[in-house]
């Protein structure tokens, strides 16, 4: 039987369909579940994905209201039991606001944030690459990736700059920095960082390694036609529809249930 994954849909979520498609391509049984759902679908899930968008219209602060949504009670409980949880873009903001990532504070008391971009909180929409910064064995979600894996993705956010107190940033750098922005060859350098993010951070993981928050969208580079160079090179529709680099993250996520 395929593992059951719930992709939560908050009011304002907008990336649920492409996220579902990428997960289904990795042999997962995926259900889109509204955050006000009263059925037991979420409670019986084996894992969760919080997709991108603008949950609750980013009211108060990106991810802040969703972090206190009743749906997150289920996610927090599941995360504490060790179930895999992945948050992408706005979903990553929700995970930081809920305190699940980096997980160094009390639940629902954030110790870090994906804050407005520098400069000027400007929305950035650019293609990027992220490099795996921890040993893959550190997390069941990442264990199928090679060391220092480089994954293509699309940045599409106005609030993706990691911000935290200096001592917390030191903790994050030591234990929780899962992905950093990089060049296509994996070179991590300041020019690759699109938003002023501290440590060049693109993705963080919790201590147990079962909760991953990543700002850029790998599901938007999951097929060749979504990749900025592969689409140009594709000569047939079959070539354009082959998997692209971003699918690797979902394949690794799926291996967590093996």
């Amino acid at each position: 039987m395929k593992p059951k994954i719930v992709v939560y849909v908050f009011p304002g979520t907008n990336s649920e369909d492409e996220t579902k498609r990428a997960l289904e391509a990795c042999e997962l049984d995926v259900a889109l579940v509204r955050s006000d759902d009263k059925t037991s679908t979420a409670k019986n899930a084996d894992g969760f994905v919080l997709p991108g968008g603008f949950a609750h219209e980013d009211r108060v602060r990106a991810g802040a209201v969703a972090a206190h949504d009743r749906a997150m009670d289920v996610v927090v409980e599941a995360a504490e039991k060790g179930k895999p949880v992945l948050g992408i873009c706005n979903g990553a903001q929700v995970l930081l606001e809920s305190g699940l990532v980096p997980g160094t504070s009390k639940a629902r008391r954030p110790s870090a944030a994906f804050a407005p971009n520098i400069p000027g909180g400007r929305f950035r929409c650019v293609h990027t690459y992220v490099r795996l910064m921890i040993d893959p064995s550190r997390s069941p979600l990442l264990s199928a990736l090679p060391k220092a894996a480089v994954i293509p993705a699309w940045v599409a956010h106005g609030e993706g700059r990691l911000a935290a107190a200096l001592d917390e940033l030191a903790r994050i750098e030591r234990d929780h920095l899962a992905f950093a922005y990089s060049a296509a060859d994996g070179d991590v350098n300041p020019d690759a960082v699109p938003n002023g993010s501290a440590l060049g951070a693109a993705g963080l993981i919790n201590e147990a390694g079962n909760v991953l928050a990543i700002m850029p969208h790998p599901e938007r580079d999951a097929w060749a036609f979504m990749h900025r160079y592969d689409l140009i090179a594709a000569r047939t529709s079959q070539e354009a529809l082959r998997p692209s680099g971003g699918i690797a993250l979902f394949q690794s996520f799926a291996k967590a249930f093996a």
């Binding site: 219209e57 108060v60 209201v65 206190h68 954030p110 944030a113 107190a165």
Partner: protein, 151 residues
Amino acid sequence: MIERAFEIRLAIPDNEAYTALATLQRLGVGCDGIARADIHVFGVEDDVDAGELEAQLKTIATIFNPNKHRMRTREEPRPKAGEVWISSTEVPPVHERVTIGGVQLRGVRTAWRATSWRLLDGAGKDVAQPILDQAVETLLCNPAFQRAIKA
């Protein structure tokens, strides 16, 4: 240089305030109403008149729409009792000139923004400070990049 503050409030129902109220009530914060406003604080040269600056701000469509906003000059560039301002922890840089929404503001050297929050009881009065503090801690402020400015 002196600081001048302006408050921009919605004259139509404030959905963001309503969402914040519903969330705070779910978190057990004792309040029955909420009032929210955008605050713009400017460091200005001494000869800049507040009325002149307010008139300029009212021409900036990205922050003020006369059909749905009301603006007023605050007496002091700080919150009053019962109010908290949530702002970025970053220190605003000093500029040669400040431009907002394509409008260059005469005599303005620094600019920063905050969100003003007031929590109200059933009688429409400000709640006690510990309740406001609880709201700040649970929802309104993420100390990783924001500061709560109190009266």
